[in-house]
Amino acid sequence: MPAKPNGKGSEKVRRVIVVGGGLAGLMTVIKLCEAGVPVDLFSLVPVKRSHSVCAQGGINASVNTKGEGDSPAVHLEETVYGGDFLANQPPVKGMADAAPGIVFMLDRMGVPFNRTAEGLLDFRRFGGTLFHRTAFAGATTGQQLLYALDEQVRRYETLDVEDSKGSVIRGEKMVRKFELWDFLSIVRDDDGVARGIVAQDLKSMEIEAFSGEAVCLATGGCGIVFGRSTNSVINTGTAAAAVYRQGACYANGEFIQVHPTAIPGADKLRLISESARGEGGRVWVPRDPRDARKGREIPEKDREYFLEEKYPGYGNLVPRDIAARELFKKCFHEKRGVYDPKTKKNENEVYLDLTHMPEEMLRKKLAGILEIYEKFVGEDPYTNPMRVFPAVHYSMGGLWVDFERSHSGSLVIGSPRNQATNIEGLYACGECDYQYHGANRLGANSLLSCIYGGMAAGPAIATYVKNMRKASTGDTSKSVFEAARKREEDHYKSILDMEGDENPYVLHQELAETMLRDCTIERDNGVLDKVIEKIDDIELRARKCGVTDQATHANQGAPFIRHLFNMVVIARVIAQGARNRDESRGAHFKPAFEKRDDKNWLRTTLAMHEAGEGNQNNSIKYVRGIDYSIHGAPMHASDAVDVSLVTPRVRKYETAGAASETAKKSDDHEDEKSENRAEA
């Protein structure tokens, strides 16, 4: 018998567990339900409040509404080029090919996308491309997509489970939600297969085990490791860290995206989406570093549009890694940030200017982000150039997941290998996986990869579960669940008993400040050695925390200590990965190793956790390949990157069209062929 969570539901139905209700998790749930597989959905917060709600600018799909010659082939090429060729290409192809269908599906779900005069979906420009490829709903696209998927999942909450003969199983709904629960770990049976999870109810603080025929993690990114970032406060990466500690491989952790344009704040660095530049926003600094005039009073000739000058091909829409480095250079190295006559300093800020655009257009397309600027800065962005600076934004790295390549170089949808981690029965998708963006993500590709990841994970898990039922290997003894539950409960109790002098929030701040200062835009091996020492130090001191709260109800202090432990684990993966990789690629930039080094480093970083014994610290074992199995069949993957579709070349955003050269050529080729045909 599968273990029953105490008093939660019945044993009549076997379910799959999805952890995380952002775009990726919700899409996985919908696909599972469509395949007839009931789901238990866990989330730290009501899923409608998941971090995906923050996404502003839009979602990419080469629908070619503007007749520019855009196509999924171009989308694929620009994505892998933007990612500096570190992404395996078949999943990216699968994603780019599916993108138009995904946006149409969202449209059918009722997402209020902006429209053209003809009533079609409107598209705008984003970074790393010259095409209008980004569908958007004002400047709160993530919110609108999340709500659409949330609504469909809510519908499944009202639908009954049916047995194989089509009769309703009473009292069982297709989706059961466990909101305000913290995922703690997976339950592994004696063969190491994932059979369920242990989670904690954040109101009653009860810790319980749940059985699931498979588990899918869709728990998002880890920006809070860097403290203030553009991320939501719940993005501590704790769930991914937990399964990494249990043996899941973590890939390309060192690739952290810094977004060029955010507003500095005391609690958060709020993003001003790339869509501002997509709609015509321009980045500049005053030519005279002592210019004390207000931004709007500085005339055109006294402004330096430094991105446009250096990268005439893509201008303000160069990919984020490049834009962020240029902004950093202006402010940090050249001390040319906006001058504040009050402080008599050049602040770490540059102008992001929309004031030359018509206000009515801005209100229709960008109100969501301009409202954020107005509310938090107290200045009108319609008439004043905004002041912005880079902020940590997105993790390209994440849990390693597999894929099965089709003949055409895409994914075999329905293969149980897609989105499978190296722990059998454990799947992952969304920002918590590493799969789609290589060394640098293009804007508006994340919402897409989350949804596509869910579309790949759902059918993969459904196949896995069906094969498992045939082999009837589904039953795990109750004692396995009880042992797993007990382990987490004991751990939690030990946290409640912590009486040291360290305040966990202060420790987190210390960790974050180090990571932010020394492990983001520019990296240096000497400095990284110190970062790792600091992580060692914090890991030790974290054991000497004093718990700030011992309440038995809605306790936030004790779970935070657990998240802190896990953030230290992820910080190490990021920093050590950065230390090891002696090259510059995408978001990972080392001035001492300025070039990309395909000979040695065109490979995925594969990190495996090694727990420190006793008083020793944790460490990382790096591997060059992964072996795991699915229902007894051995699977193998190496760290070599599948670059079979687009041959790696050096990125050149100075030249217009450089990112889509190959697809363009083969297009011309096609044209020639058809012309020849016409002539013949």
Partner: protein, 253 residues
């Protein structure tokens, strides 16, 4: 002297612990661009009251910190709003004490946290969704005019934050009124070309006293909605639709 921020916070350890209801006061260092959330974050780092008592840090809910997730709603100086956009310099320009209390119309969980699950339940009740045939490829959705999008989009920005329910006098222990947020969703889905196909089903769910007739027209909801959703118009629109539907049914009898 160093600038500080003074907070007075309503606390209670749990729903069944009314005896623990109390005010506590804290002082934290001021920072530029500070909001209520960053003040609460400062308290966590050193949870000591102005009386010098070491206490458990204040418990509150927050996620996005940019007013799109709806989590951090509370009463700030007696007014219901998100605490992330409550900038310290704006609400306490001369260092006045800032008071924080949990919303009063939802069951208390602890300190500033309340349980808003009824709002998600209401979304189920009113069928706030499109009846999708499936997520497989079926081509683009129905064409829509720019005007339609411009009417729907603002309605769709409701983040289930609870402000409108908190401010509505018709929401109280003796009424089952569903409230403005859910009614606005009925209008939203009835506007959509595919959503319309199930409009009457949706309207059925809000007929009667607990539905659209429960509105007392106080118009407080519009005043407090952080996203400036035209809630009064939405309620009026749904009221018109239900009247039409009732008449129609009566004629068919």
């Amino acid at each position: 002297m160093e600038r500080t921020v003074k907070l007075k916070i309503r606390r209670q350890d749990g729903p069944h612990r009314p005896e623990t209801r109390r005010w506590e006061e804290f002082v934290v260092p001021w920072q530029p661009r500070m909001n209520v959330i960053s003040a609460l974050m400062e308290i966590r780092k050193n949870p000591v009251t102005t009386k010098g008592e070491k206490v458990a840090p204040v418990v509150w809910e927050s996620v996005c910190l940019e007013e799109v997730c709806g989590s951090c709603t509370m009463l700030v100086n007696g007014k219901v709003r998100q605490s992330c956009t409550a900038l310290v310099d704006a609400i306490s320009p001369h260092g006045e004490t800032i008071t924080l209390e949990p919303m009063s119309k939802f069951p208390l969980v602890r300190d500033l946290v309340v349980d808003r699950s009824r709002m998600f339940g209401d979304l189920k009740k009113v069928h706030a969704w499109i009846q999708l045939d499936g997520t497989h490829e079926l081509g683009p959705g129905p064409r829509q005019s720019q005007e339609n999008q411009e009417e729907a989009y603002p309605l769709s920005r409701c983040m289930t934050c609870g402000c409108c329910l908190e401010a509505c006098p018709q929401i109280n222990d003796s009424s089952g009124f569903v409230g403005p947020a859910a009614l606005n969703q009925v209008r939203l889905f009835n506007l959509h070309p595919s959503g319309k196909l199930h409009a009457s089903e949706r309207l059925e769910t809000v007929m009667g006293e607990d539905g659209v007739a429960g509105c007392g027209k106080a118009q407080n909801c519009v005043e407090v909605c952080p996203k400036e959703i035209p809630l009064v118009d939405s309620i009026a629109s749904v009221a018109r639709q239900t009247t039409k539907q009732m008449l129609f049914k009566w004629l068919l009898k």
